[in-house]
Symmetry: none
Subunit: 180 residues, 2 copies
């Protein structure tokens, strides 16, 4: 409510190491930023400070980054949000953008990429009209993510719907930061 201080970036990530590293990189570029480790902290920070950009992780311990995006957008419709995650998939990307994110990046992303993601782009599409079909593994991953989301993240239900063993699904989910 007070909006005394202004900040350029809000970083929301449950991995303190990553968050600190990103913060340092941003500060080196003369941006001011704050870190939140969960949804609650993030929501508090946007009340206390005047923030224009946020970098949100998809997986925030118990909280869902997607849900957080929606809440942030309600509180602060102007906020520009980029979602950043190691467990990227098309279905969460679609969901993120529909929820109000302006971009979505896969996690081994360097600081310049992140900054570019905030830029007025619509650029990157032309470059790689990638005519390679998805690898089988990737396709499986995308499908799993899609069904998982339809089941609101319920692993047991997803395994049932997919006709695969729960244990197997768990292992697949744990493993992949998936290539390609």
């Amino acid at each position: 409510m007070s909006n005394q201080s202004a900040l350029d970036f809000l970083i929301v990530d449950d991995d303190p190491t990553f968050a600190a590293m990103l913060e340092r990189a941003l500060k080196r570029r003369q941006f001011s930023c704050a870190i939140a480790q969960n949804a609650h902290q993030a929501l508090q920070l946007v009340e206390r400070f005047s923030i224009t950009k946020a970098i949100v992780d998809l997986k925030l311990g118990n909280d869902s980054g997607l849900q957080l995006i929606r809440e942030l957008k309600i509180k602060l419709p102007e906020l520009q949000i980029v979602m950043l995650t190691g467990y990227s998939s098309i279905s969460t990307a679609v969901e993120a953008v529909k929820s109000g994110a302006i971009n979505y990046l896969c996690k081994p992303a360097d600081t310049d990429e992140i900054l570019a993601a905030f830029g007025q782009d619509s650029i990157s599409e032309l470059q790689e009209m990638n005519y390679t079909p998805l690898s089988v593994d990737r396709l499986e991953w995308e499908h799993i993510q899609k069904v998982l989301q339809e089941n609101n993240g319920n692993i047991s239900a997803t395994a049932r719907a997919l006709g695969m063993h729960r244990r197997t699904l768990q292992r697949k989910l744990q493993k992949r930061p998936v290539k390609q």
Copy 2:
């Protein structure tokens, strides 16, 4: 501008076989639809008919499905568009949604899945949303078949494209009794 006839679906895909198959499946479900093989035809059709939903492929020969989405949205802001493609990627998914698509699916997708993709945030009338997702095996099988066909039955090339070992592909192909 005339809007005489109303259609439920516009299918935009440069693969006639796929388009025809989808059309048949939709008609069987009592939906009316039209097929466009490129951007130009698509734009003409939305002028001639009153259309509410469109299924657009990302890769349309020379045209870009992404660009088409934007043009369709300008002509007809109400149009609900789902992008459907075998060459999916996160960046094109993000771009599609930002351009106005309501959803984005990877191509081995059955008709119910496509319908469900529309149903989520726009309620279609008579829809029971109880579709069962394809099993991972079935999805994999269809994807393999499609890529295999694109490579004219060349197993080595297909295995390469799919990022799987040739031996493994061989074994998978052997196992299925070819048909269906």
